[in-house]
Subunit: 202 residues, 2 copies
């Protein structure tokens, strides 16, 4: 009998986990999201498919885990000004989304999410919430500095900033390099203006 929650039986080989993650990333880069097959991942990792399905319920969860692994968007350090912070933030987001493999995976993931509430939940806690919190911190800094009179609508700002990058890259297909400064300038002007007249009808 096992004691406590102590593991009984053969323990999992952590090298298998690493091999799966590495194989998914390698193959995403080579054949893209659409061309990725579970069998190919198993072969590339030198393992059996069963070892994959023992860890992940579906192919999508496997990819999600591999892409996400440690990919938290850290808040860029304080640059001393709102404009500087916004530019740095835009660069970080653009940097992450400019990787073609990650980009394809993300978009396909969004497609899946539209039809899978479980995946949507996980995506939210893993990506959306931390990023929103990071945005909030950045804006609070600006308030502390006195650059903004009051905290703006964080939900709206968050959707605006990330959404603009998404649309710029994947819908308009514009040059990633052009975006950060333009977006930061625009957002900075908007925030300053909105802070003065948050509710025009008041």
């Amino acid at each position: 009998m096992e004691h406590n929650g102590q593991q009984v039986g053969r323990p999992r080989d952590s090298r298998v986990d690493e091999a799966i993650t590495a194989a998914v990333r390698k193959l995403l880069g080579e054949v893209g999201y659409a061309g990725l097959t579970v069998a190919a991942v198993a072969e590339c990792a030198g393992i059996g498919k069963a070892s994959i399905y023992r860890r992940y319920a579906t192919k999508h969860e496997m990819i999600f885990a591999a892409v996400v692994h440690g990919e938290v968007l850290e808040v860029p350090p304080d640059t001393g000004s709102l404009l500087g912070d916004l530019t740095a933030l835009a660069r970080v987001i653009v940097g992450h989304l400019s990787n073609p493999a990650a980009a394809g995976a993300l978009m396909s993931l969004l497609g899946e999410i539209a039809a899978d509430p479980t995946l949507a939940e996980r995506f939210t806690t893993t990506f959306v919430e931390p990023e929103r919190a990071g945005n909030a911190e950045l804006l609070e800094r600006a308030v502390r500095r006195g650059e903004l009179e009051r905290l703006p609508d964080i939900d709206l700002f968050h959707a605006m900033f990330g959404g603009t990058v998404l649309s710029w890259l994947f819908i308009s297909h514009h040059d990633p390099h052009d975006l950060p400064e333009r977006l930061a300038r625009f957002a900075c002007a908007a925030l300053r203006s909105a802070a003065h007249q948050p509710f025009p009808s008041d």
Copy 2:
């Protein structure tokens, strides 16, 4: 020999086209994008699958065509003010994207587009360009009215406006109803502010 571009052979049955479109829309509403199968579409439409593939190269193109069919985003009429125009525009976009079937289709389509340049091209000419042109017209109106001193960065505005809606609905999963007025106020403030100091370093 055929004369001119005159059609030779058995002509297509236009009722088949209509039946496909109707079946796709009906099934999208019933089973969602993920649950949609070509076989089900064929059966629901009372036709063979070959008749579908003679018209569309892939399942995604079929859905794209069915969802898009006549779904051009018209520019909302002049409301007399920039804020009013922006609110109306946001409502139109939110309205289109709030339909769950269309939403799922769009997101999955974006996933496909990330890996299919041909589809990307078609998506751009069908959706992106007209919408950008609509945005431009709306902004020109504001300049003519004197609400804006000069025309803002249209590419950026376009990515910002549509991207915010996209992110608000499909990434943050916020309430569609809350968005239009908030976004319009924010964008209006941003545009007025940016028009005064388009290049802060000048």
